[in-house]
């Protein structure tokens, strides 16, 4: 799939399948994520979205399929060699380290010079608006602030890819809304390819460049928020993203008027055109 493109996809998944015992978590998922875009994996709990993210992160091993990052096959690499940053729902900040040390954590491993690390930490904390909290400890910060520290920590080593695992689910509604915008703004500014897992359709519609709607371990639809909302590919997508009324009926007669809309073409006229069905 990357053959024709001048630049290979930032992340390419080819036929990913995953089983937990007899339970099939992912069935043959193929997907390409372009450099710089923010993609949301959206679906109900148990649809496989988190498993897919963990496979990309190398935290879970797939039973079949390939993971490529910028053209390089990373399927066999341990997490540390995949060059991504990750933010978890539960923040997972080190409680015994200050905010600055938390952000510096991933940099220290790469043996950068002290001054360089300090500079980078300051830049990032300024970026997420927490410069003045540098010497505090995670327990002294609010949930939203902690999640911003987690974001800064993930971004500090300049990863090629940012993974967000339900980053806003643990926060209250108002903080969630403002952080939504902030993450989006930051992601645009840094141009870092981002994959976010969420079960909140509003969050996906508000933040994503493209939404991957998943159900039962398979991809139901991939598209921009507008196209997923206005042209749902399946009843599942129609119902999961926004509200949808369904009316069962039988086609009485078809006239060739040319197709309109997603599945459009046969348009009923008046009430007699369809028979009401009992559900």
């Amino acid at each position: 799939m990357s053959g024709a493109a001048p630049r290979p996809a930032a992340v390419a998944l080819e036929g990913i399948a995953k089983k937990f015992g007899a339970f099939v978590a992912l069935r043959d998922v193929t997907l390409a994520i372009e450099p710089g875009e923010l993609v949301c994996f959206l679906g109900p709990s148990g649809c496989g979205k988190t498993t897919l993210l963990r496979i990309i992160a190398g935290l879970e091993r797939q039973n079949a399929g390939l993971v490529r990052m910028a053209g390089r096959d990373v399927s066999g690499l341990p997490p540390a060699q995949r060059n991504y940053g990750i933010v978890f729902q539960s923040y997972a900040l080190f409680p015994n380290l200050s905010v600055a040390r938390n952000v510096a954590y991933g940099l220290e491993r790469r043996r950068a010079a002290r001054a360089e690390i300090d500079g980078r930490v300051d830049d990032l904390l300024a970026l997420v608006g927490l410069g003045q909290h540098k010497h505090k400890y995670p327990a002294q910060l609010s949930g939203g602030e902690q999640q911003r520290v987690a974001l800064a920590r993930a971004l500090a080593p300049k990863p090629a890819l940012l993974l967000l695992d339900e980053p806003l689910s643990a926060l209250d509604a108002r903080v969630r809304q403002s952080l939504r915008l902030e993450i989006r703004r930051l992601q645009r500014r840094l141009g870092v390819t981002t994959i976010m897992v969420t079960h909140d359709q509003e969050e996906a519609l508000a933040m994503a460049d493209r939404i991957v709607v998943m159900n039962h371990g398979a991809v139901e639809q991939v598209g921009s928020p507008i196209s997923v909302y206005t042209e749902p590919a399946s009843p599942f997508v129609a119902r999961f993203v926004g509200q949808m009324n369904f009316i069962a009926g039988t086609a009485a007669r078809a006239r060739g008027l040319g197709a309109r809309g997603a599945g459009g073409g046969v348009l009923p006229r008046g009430r007699s055109a369809f028979r009401r069905a009992r559900r």
Partner: protein, 512 residues
């Protein structure tokens, strides 16, 4: 076919008049949602199809859409979507054989540096286990099949063991003492731990500290203390003339209860502390009595702690040598029996035989322990709220009084101290320090030997235990089960059986 339309795309009021696809519906419900309201509409009396329709707040005013009213609406052809009827079912869309086509093995991962370290640790630890646990145990088992000249005699030793009434009775004696001590210790420790964790009992810190005292002395000391208080020449016996006959099973049980109390207490405090307060809130709001709350929330929550406390106490008593030797009199238990056979009669094969028999209850305890552990569910999740004890004056002070008997315990140590400070108990009470001079038995050398051995055991044992626990917990491999089994074996047999570094015995306890 299935038609689909979004709630905000349904036309109502004036907009519906000129549109095709007009319907007359009945309003079943109105939900006010702020900027708009959502109407639930039925297509007719007999229909179960419900349409949801979003209407802006200002448009709703002119509709007069009260519940039960008729409402005309139109489905704009341009907004209708069409799906095949079958796709309405939430598909488990995949043919059944797909699961079969996914390979069972996950993809291979290249070995990182961490993995190499991990496997090296597993290998090293396996070697240590083999050298210090499996090999000596094998030797022991093999030895029990030989006679004293080294000839293979099969099960003859066992036949002789069970055939000699005097020796065989040590089995029932051991079981008797262990079971009684177990029940007594765990009951006492549970009440004590409950008082420490669940009430606002005054002076908690002091009580916690005091209860830990027996940890610092071998069981031998408890036994000696009991002799000094209740023995033929004990304080109580001499002052009241009441001799309760402390030598024998009674004395062993008393001494063991004191000796094992802190071990059980530590486990039960941990178990009682790890509780989700939300369950207690739920029980209270549902009107459960304190007894019902205790039976349905507290006990199930600490079930595992209780079981493991039982096993720890049982095996501690089963394998203890000091107390029975000191206070047991003629009452012979398995641990002293081994000592008699090996040290007294130079009968190594019989010693080995007893050791192997001693492993059987231990092995049983291990299996039950594992089964219980497997059924243990996560009691404390990330959303749990720790339980804050509430002030209950009656219980707080009641349990404190209950604890007062522990003062007796402190008295025991005091007795030993006083004993050692007088010239010749109970005939001459002149204070003296001469017993601390140790001039006859090699001076202070035994103390320094003890410190030396203990220090090395602490260092080596802790290191080994840490590596072992790390290997088992972080590098889950097929070898985990057996290795846990191997490591806990030393816990279940007297140190006497282990002519090996002491660490092999202390290790499993630290790992637990």
């Amino acid at each position: 076919m299935t038609l689909a339309i979004r709630p905000e795309e349904i036309l109502v009021g004036s907009g519906a008049r000129e549109s095709p696809n007009r319907l007359v519906t009945r309003v079943r419900g109105v939900q006010f949602l702020g900027a708009f309201s959502r109407l639930s509409l039925t297509l007719g009396e007999e229909s179960e199809t419900v349409l949801e329709c979003d209407v802006a707040a200002n448009a709703l005013a002119e509709l007069d859409a009260a519940e039960g009213a008729e409402l005309a609406l139109a489905l704009d052809p341009g907004a209708l979507r069409l799906f095949p009827a079958t796709s309405l079912i939430d598909m488990a869309l995949v043919p059944g054989d797909l699961a079969g086509r996914i390979p069972d093995r996950t993809v291979r991962r290249r070995l990182g540096a961490e993995d190499v370290v991990r496997y090296a640790l597993v290998a090293a630890f396996a070697l240590v286990l083999f050298l210090f646990v499996l090999y000596p145990m094998g030797q022991l088992a093999w030895r029990s099949l030989l006679d004293n000249q080294g000839h293979f005699v099969g099960a003859a030793n066992y036949a002789r063991y069970f055939g000699t009434p005097a020796i065989a009775s040590s089995i029932t004696n051991s079981l008797h003492v262990s079971l009684v001590s177990m029940v007594a210790t765990v009951l006492l420790a549970f009440a004590y731990a409950y008082a420490l964790t669940r009430t606002l009992m005054p002076w908690q810190g002091l009580f916690r500290l005091v209860a830990m005292l027996p940890l610092f002395a071998p069981s031998l000391v408890q036994a000696l203390a009991f002799i000094h208080v209740f023995g033929n020449n004990g304080i109580l016996t001499r002052t009241t003339g009441l001799n309760i006959g402390i030598y024998g099973a009674k004395g062993i049980i008393f001494a063991e209860v004191f000796y094992c109390f802190p071990h059980a207490l530590l486990i039960l405090i941990a178990a009682l502390s790890a509780t989700d307060a939300r369950l207690y809130d739920a029980a209270r709001t549902l009107g459960a009595s304190p007894l019902k709350t205790f039976l349905t929330v507290t006990l199930p929550g600490v079930k595992f702690g209780l079981v493991s406390a039982c096993f720890v106490v049982f095996t501690l008593v089963m394998t203890d040598f000091g107390a029975p030797k000191a206070i047991g009199g003629k009452f012979s238990v398995m641990a002293t029996e081994i000592y008699n056979q090996v040290s007294g009669q130079q009968n190594f094969t019989m010693g080995a035989t007893v050791s192997v028999v001693l492993l059987i209850p231990a092995a049983l305890a291990f299996v039950v322990d594992r089964i219980v552990q497997r059924r243990q569910y996560a009691l404390v999740t990330s959303s749990s709220r720790p339980l804050e004890p509430r002030r209950r004056p009656l219980a707080d002070w009641g349990l404190r009084l209950l604890r007062a008997h522990r003062g007796r315990d402190r008295g025991l140590y005091l007795t030993i101290l006083v004993y050692s400070l007088v010239v010749r108990w109970p005939y001459n009470f002149t204070p003296t320090l001469k017993h601390y001079a140790f001039d006859t038995v090699g001076g202070y050398a035994p103390i320094w030997n003890s410190v030396y051995v203990a220090a090395w055991t602490a260092i080596v044992g802790t290191a080994l235990t840490f590596v072992g626990a790390y290997v088992v917990e972080k590098c889950r491999t097929a070898a985990s089960g057996p290795s846990i089994c191997c490591r806990s074996c030393p816990c279940r047999s007297p140190a006497w059986c282990w002519a090996w570094p002491t660490s092999s015995r202390s290790m499993p306890r630290a790992a637990c």
